[in-house]
Symmetry: C2
Subunit: 616 residues, 2 copies
Amino acid sequence: MSSPEVISEQAASAEQLRELAQQLRVDSVRAAAAANSGHPTSSMSAADLMAVLMTRYLRYDFDAPENPANDHLVFSKGHASPLLYSVYKAAGAIDDEELLTFREFGSHLQGHPTPEIPWVDVATGSLGQGLPISIGIALAGKRLESADFRVWVLCGDSELAEGSMWEAFEHAGHAGLDNMIAIVDVNRLGQRGPTMHEWDTSSWAARAAACGWDVQEIDGHDLEAIDVAYTRAMAADVPAVIFARTKKGSGVAAVEDQPNQHGKPLADPEAAVEELGGISSLRVELKSPPEARPYEIAQTPVDRPVYEVGEKVATRAAYGDALAWLGSIDEKVVALDGEVGNSTYAERFAAKHPDRFFEMYIAEQQMVAAGVGLQTRGWKPFASSFGAFLSRAYDFVRMGAISDADLKLCGSHVGVSIGPDGPSQMALEDIASLRAVFGSVILYPSDANQAVQLLDAMRQHRGISYMRTTREATPVLYGSGESFEIGGSHTVRSGDDVTLIGAGITLRECLTAADELAGKGISARVVDLYSVKPVDAEAILTAAGETKALITVEDHWPEGGIGETVAGVLAEAASGAPLVRLAVSGRPGSGPPADLLAAAGIDAASIVAAVERALA
Amino acid sequence: MSSPEVISEQAASAEQLRELAQQLRVDSVRAAAAANSGHPTSSMSAADLMAVLMTRYLRYDFDAPENPANDHLVFSKGHASPLLYSVYKAAGAIDDEELLTFREFGSHLQGHPTPEIPWVDVATGSLGQGLPISIGIALAGKRLESADFRVWVLCGDSELAEGSMWEAFEHAGHAGLDNMIAIVDVNRLGQRGPTMHEWDTSSWAARAAACGWDVQEIDGHDLEAIDVAYTRAMAADVPAVIFARTKKGSGVAAVEDQPNQHGKPLADPEAAVEELGGISSLRVELKSPPEARPYEIAQTPVDRPVYEVGEKVATRAAYGDALAWLGSIDEKVVALDGEVGNSTYAERFAAKHPDRFFEMYIAEQQMVAAGVGLQTRGWKPFASSFGAFLSRAYDFVRMGAISDADLKLCGSHVGVSIGPDGPSQMALEDIASLRAVFGSVILYPSDANQAVQLLDAMRQHRGISYMRTTREATPVLYGSGESFEIGGSHTVRSGDDVTLIGAGITLRECLTAADELAGKGISARVVDLYSVKPVDAEAILTAAGETKALITVEDHWPEGGIGETVAGVLAEAASGAPLVRLAVSGRPGSGPPADLLAAAGIDAASIVAAVERALA
């Protein structure tokens, strides 16, 4: 191709904008044709919206994606990736050859955008996530950094059915995020047919307005109307949303506003390119970001918490104490909580570092999403709720791993040992589900001093990590000087007949059982497997070699937890050591913790009985 | 106590209603005091709302909870269980003695309501679920049964922050569910402090109205206003919501509208009871439900699908075909899909049985919730989406297990083998997360004929079951006459050097590997582990005894899937057989399925290499 015509904000004529929009359509069609898959029609509907945005509004230095003053551009409708990549080409960030590697094995231009691409903040493609994550980016700019950047989010209309989108509308309005601009590409057609509201944007508009947003409803193919709308949105002192009525596949008669044209290349891409005006290579000079502003974080000194051995402290309380301390030694630490800060003890962080605490109310999806957004700007988010309720945000954690997010989660009130509140409040699947997140770290401290150390390890670890904390106050076992690390374990008591492996509340039961067993002449080793993932395989195999049986004990369902982790280690080593896995064996109810532990078969008496059976 | 004063609709005076409301408060306080835990203040705020409801509106026969004409009463704010149980006492369904067993071990009156109680439809306590589940109950009444019952739902204000509540508002409005009446107890105070909107109900009201609901905003302690509001709500030809401003802890000065009074018994319950007028034993004669109406289900005959061995068919296509067939042999079968019916092939059910198909749009939480609601009335819901997106509804599945729900799930597009769409669309944690649901069944068919049989098994199985289907068309392996069952496995090829264990897409890779290994003089047994939970332990242990090593191969993360399931079986049997677990080993991208299977280390070549290492 010949050297490109360069257009910029001042110079861009209406005709040039129109040509740019057509180029974005053409390139979307071509990329999908090259891949023989993808979503060209979902890209074409929003081409006009992106043409005006990139030429006249978006402030972004593609040569310096790390520049903190850059605007953010998030494609919440991640399947419109051909359009995003076409924008990159028009911005000169990639060339035409790279554009056509779309969806090839090894290409960074995946089916849906991921941060493997330097200009992508977060992975999208699970609908309803881009907007709530963007709230986190906007919160960072507004509340922490006093920054000038704006967050532009391209949303689909289908994804407005996801409740998470309305958590985002609600939160952004509440937080007054005037740096958020959402653009909804209302192309009327979902994957399998018309959306619920088609082109009637009135219901969404009324809801967004009720959430405190500035709302506009426009024709998304009218370049002048788009321009006017962006100018008004920029000027709004509240978050702004533009509902833009568009046609899916716009510009190509064969697919424009036609059913059954979702998620596949055009049947005749060459004819489509011709209909759209042919291949072009307009090049847009984007507006530069302003000078980055320095900012200061208020620091309140907090001592490292230290607990006396034997003192009774809940690990959830240690979470709050330790987080407050970590906030004082690392200004990048921020905390979010789902309106249960007096239970998770995140309130202790909030009391010391109110500027870095985010009350997310009972909206766990928005909480985790905001964490993912915050970490895109280098913050270290710790997000807490009851472990059971983090399950609400499981898809957000899953996608966080694809985003390679640095996200720290804490789930309190785990297991049957919470007692009278009953099963709805008991996390019994959190280890299993969160272990099955790519690259995750799973920690389950057995006492308060250990929790403090492991939280500091989480702070220093980059990636997704999860700490499981206990409701009940349990005796402090370890001196504050003892050392624990991700991937470690601790042999709390030596013994050579049998090995009891527990963590958290069950370590206490293991120790009680070991006492009882000692009275029966059975010498039990007790291993604190506080790092469930990665796991200390060596300690397990050593115990398997040195004792006659292993008993794992966990306040969790039998599947995917400590027992299976240990089983995996043994089986892969072809150990042949007998293993008994004690885990919650039936649907629990309400009651005193001791009764529930006994009924679940994971209390000291159950352990003693299991040992006697195993050694018999 | 003396024999109770009985009040009924006609006779109930304003004074009696007031006394009844006070009794509900008194009993809530007493229950929490007896348990020394619970949520009395969250109960007291809604006592007036429930007093009017039970006396004048609710049609319910407590002696016959199975009566299909009964109204439904769902406490979406499940923590107000003391109030619900106090209503039961006032209705004569339980006595005072039983009321005071609240939260005792073994009592059905758990911390949060569960269907262990015959008058409770579904477990609540994870906020934001009762309303979306109630949508499913209302859909059953309106769309399937032409029934007269109404669904009354008591919601909290805090839970309005959950996006799932707005999925419910949206769906009910769209479906025109005039049998739904939501009552929001706006008591201003959440667990840790004020809610986002406190007593300003205008934002919620505007949003609910925009969703097509009849909306009222009232003083929730004004018995006359409540009465008027219920009458209007009953008459509305759309779903109705009443935002009732109340005071948490109302009636007792020490706690009324006070902070830090959430989720704990009153400090001085005796004084509170006295302040409220003392213990009483009013007994309400509820209105009787009308005669139950018969209804008919349109039946379209559909043949059982049969595929030829060797034909290439995707198991997701078999899901659609089989579901259409099951709908024709079992009129209780209904299907829901999250706007991807042309990918999951739920559309094939919809085409044959449109009256029993529910398009839930991209709202997976509402989809699963509606399934839970539908099954409360005896329907057998099959809910489908991409497996990856079912993770969005994980908390709803978790709670479904506490509800002992009969819920069938299908996740399509699992694993890296989906190819170019990339990781956001790949279910790689579905086995792990859904295995860790109490009592769940996990099936992963390896061909189309098997999928048909297993779907019929799911239909007949009562409980939560999950089928994982494959995007790609794979060769039919089994004749349509072969038999497969929950808990079974199938040895596809005999061999005595090594055992390859796969399911779904990896079974095909195992068979290819076995061919290659045969060429190298290695005899490989191939086991189709299509039932991952429950698992066929005997087949695994037999293979462990008869071959030199086991290789598991799965298109899933290493944690919590097939490999760990097998490891658990081996370790508990102290087998000592060497096990190699092949699973997806790194973050996948986009590309052709074969490239992705190879990169993940789970293709035939990887299996051959693993076998050679294991036998070396």
